[in-house]
């Protein structure tokens, strides 16, 4: 009896110690990880508020007087507002189209039995494997021939294409998650096929739709290659603007960083707002195959 009482507190204490050590180690590692992954982000943000002298200074200044002159130059001299509007319109439209078309296609693949269904699904997915560089030349030639160069239309079409495989893949999984019996119950209860979709399926798909939309929005928003080839002055999008800030004549790092901040902010805000849905969205495809 006395032996037992001696052992119990010792074992308890060493387990406690181990747990405290593990927790401390975890936090320490987490700290290192954060430093590594967030430092460049912080650097970009602080650089955007630095005057040119501060940016190129050596040793690098960690304490400085912040200035808005980069942002001013961005919006006034470089007409960033135009690029911003272009990006919003082009990417917004493409995202909507990809969501609508893609969800329709996903519904067809999930709910109907079609001959060659898997072949179709693979075809849609294979588009994602194309290096954009392969389609660039013909699209460039087509753009010039049809007079679409430096207009938003071709870019909208391309971004829609880029988003489609992802939407189809992920929404298909989400739709399969909804038991068929719920839709059938709605059909029997009196809904037409469209009514059933609108009243029952759609509300249940909302988290999946939100997640998917944010992701394809992000990829289109950040796209550079096609935008650089197919636009010039009028239909320029934000990534082009940022790259232009690197013109070899007088590289203004502050300006370039400011462009980076302006460009990345919408996506970061959107994603952080939608986080909870995002992890499910991205990984449902992965985890559930």
């Amino acid at each position: 009896m006395r032996d037992n009482q001696m052992f119990r507190p010792t074992i308890h204490r060493s387990r406690e110690q181990r747990r405290i050590f593990e927790t401390a180690a975890a936090y320490f590692l987490a700290f290192l990880v954060i430093c590594f992954f967030l430092f460049p982000v912080l650097w970009m943000t602080t650089s955007s508020f630095k005057a040119d002298i501060d940016v190129a200074a050596y040793p690098p200044t960690f304490v400085f007087s912040p200035t808005m002159e980069n942002f001013v130059e961005l919006f006034v001299d470089l007409r960033a507002a135009d690029a911003l509007i272009n990006s919003c319109v082009i990417v917004g439209l493409a995202t909507c189209l990809a969501m609508i078309f893609g969800t329709m296609a996903a519904f067809a693949l999930a709910r109907y039995d079609i001959k060659g269904k898997n072949f179709l699904a693979f075809e849609i997915l294979s588009v994602r494997m194309l290096p954009p560089i392969v389609s660039v030349i013909p699209l460039f030639i087509i753009a010039r021939k049809l007079g679409l160069f430096d207009t938003p239309w071709l870019l909208i079409a391309i971004y829609t294409l880029n988003g489609l495989p992802f939407v189809v893949w992920v929404m298909r999984v989400f739709i399969q998650e909804i038991p068929k019996s719920i839709e059938e119950a709605a059909l029997i209860d009196g809904c037409s096929r469209y009514g059933c979709f609108a009243r029952v399926t759609l509300p249940l798909l909302l988290p999946g739709l939100a997640a998917t939309m944010v992701i394809i929005f992000m990829f289109a928003w950040n796209e550079y290659l096609f935008a650089s080839i197919l636009t010039s002055a009028d239909a320029k999008t934000l990534p082009i603007l940022a790259a232009n800030a690197l013109k070899p004549k007088a590289i203004s790092w502050g300006l370039a960083s400011a462009a980076g901040v302006v460009m990345s902010l919408p996506v970061v805000v959107l994603v952080l707002l939608m986080q909870r849905f995002l992890v499910r969205g991205l990984t449902f495809g992965a985890v559930k195959g």
């Binding site: 038991p179 019996s181 719920i182 059938e184 119950a185 709605a186 059909l187 029997i188 209860d189 009196g190 809904c191 037409s192 009514g195 009243r199 029952v200 509300p203 249940l204």
Partner: protein, 354 residues
């Protein structure tokens, strides 16, 4: 006739799920489609519902040809195996959904929903969501939603199979009482023959897409037409002892006493269809066998292999010259290894073509 199926078949690609099924279901009848998994009973039900379209054949509800009509125009209601409740709606909105979709105004809807909920004993759950309910409660919501419109035909697809055994027995009685009091024609699909026996006015036994036998529960139980039906109904299943038609008056069988006991009426019933030398099974239900521990008595010789004392009844597993058979008796003193004599209640013997 409430629901008529005429030569209905359904193929999925090269797979024939339902083969030439014809049924006539009466008004107000509780009709059960019974059979093992994959026998086509659910597919048949779904064709009546309009969720599948038949490959051939015709379906009529109350005299109207509805073979290709949309489900919502058939005036039917359906209860699903997984309940099919709308997870994003409250119980009240779930029940009221069919009314809302048909444009019934709010006040009428609320009244009808409350009334139906009360009747099913879920009046206090109206504000909850399906995820907050137990299996039995969800079952009731599913029923309430179906009944709120007073449908003429009520389809049920194995609604009790996801409930535990005790709840199943309780719900079984409740459902039967409910639809009987409302006089609704009910078509009920299940693989559980006890459920079918307990609830049905008539049963249609299906196997591999075909209709094996249609009739009242006790009819099917006492007078099965095929081996399949004989073995499917009853637990433990009917004993089937192989025999050969010798002459018009005798059957050649290892269990001679049993064969002798088969009444002439049975032989007469099948004579037209059986030639001399044809194989036939003598069917006798375990509860209709008499196990006599007195080795000098009349009957066929058998040895006791195994005894299961289940409280109410005792299962006795016997080995005979014709193979193993099962008998069911009240409490008995028979022990493993005993030699016994086996007799049958003559009027319960049934001849089934092999």
């Amino acid at each position: 006739m409430s629901v008529d199926l005429t030569h209905v078949s359904k193929s999925f690609g090269s797979f024939l799920a339902v083969n030439d099924v014809s049924l006539s279901i009466e008004d107000g009848e509780f009709f059960v489609l019974l059979g093992p998994s994959g026998c086509g009973k659910t597919t048949t039900l779904r064709m009546i519902a309009g969720l599948e379209l038949p490959s051939t054949g015709q379906i009529r509800i109350h005299g109207r040809d509805v073979t290709y009509t949309e489900p919502r125009h058939r005036d039917i209601a359906m209860a699903f195996q997984d309940y099919g409740l709308y997870p994003h709606l409250t119980v009240a909105n779930n029940i009221g959904f069919p009314l809302r979709v048909r444009g019934v105004d709010r006040r009428q809807r609320a009244a009808k929903v409350a009334e139906t909920a009360e009747r099913l004993g879920i009046g206090q759950l109206l504000h909850r969501k399906p995820s907050q309910l137990s299996g039995g409660e969800r079952q009731r919501v599913s029923l309430a939603r179906a009944l709120v419109r007073n449908p003429r035909v009520f389809l049920m697809d194995e609604p009790l199979s996801n409930l535990d055994a005790k709840l199943r027995a309780v719900m079984r009685t409740e459902i039967k009482k409910l639809v009987s009091s409302m006089g609704i024609t009910t078509i009920y699909v299940t693989h559980d023959q006890i459920e079918a026996m307990a609830m049905a006015d008539r049963i249609a036994v299906m196997s591999c897409g075909n209709l094996a036998q249609v009739g009242a529960p006790l009819d099917i139980y006492d007078r099965p037409n095929t081996r399949f039906v004989a073995e499917f109904m009853g637990s433990p299943p009917m004993n089937l002892i192989e025999a050969k038609v010798d002459t018009e008056r005798t059957l050649d069988c290892p269990l001679a006493y049993l064969a002798k006991s088969v009444p002439d009426s049975e032989r007469a019933r099948l004579n037209g269809t059986l030639a001399t030398g044809a194989a036939v099974s003598i069917g006798i239900r375990p509860e209709h066998l008499i196990v006599d521990p007195n080795v000098e008595a009349e009957g066929d010789v058998a040895a006791v292999e195994f005894v299961e004392a289940l409280g109410q009844l005792t299962n006795i597993y016997l080995s005979t010259e014709a193979g193993p058979i099962v008998a069911v008796a009240d409490r008995t003193d028979v022990k493993v290894g005993n030699a016994v004599r086996v007799r049958a209640l003559r009027e319960r013997l049934r001849l089934i073509p092999s």
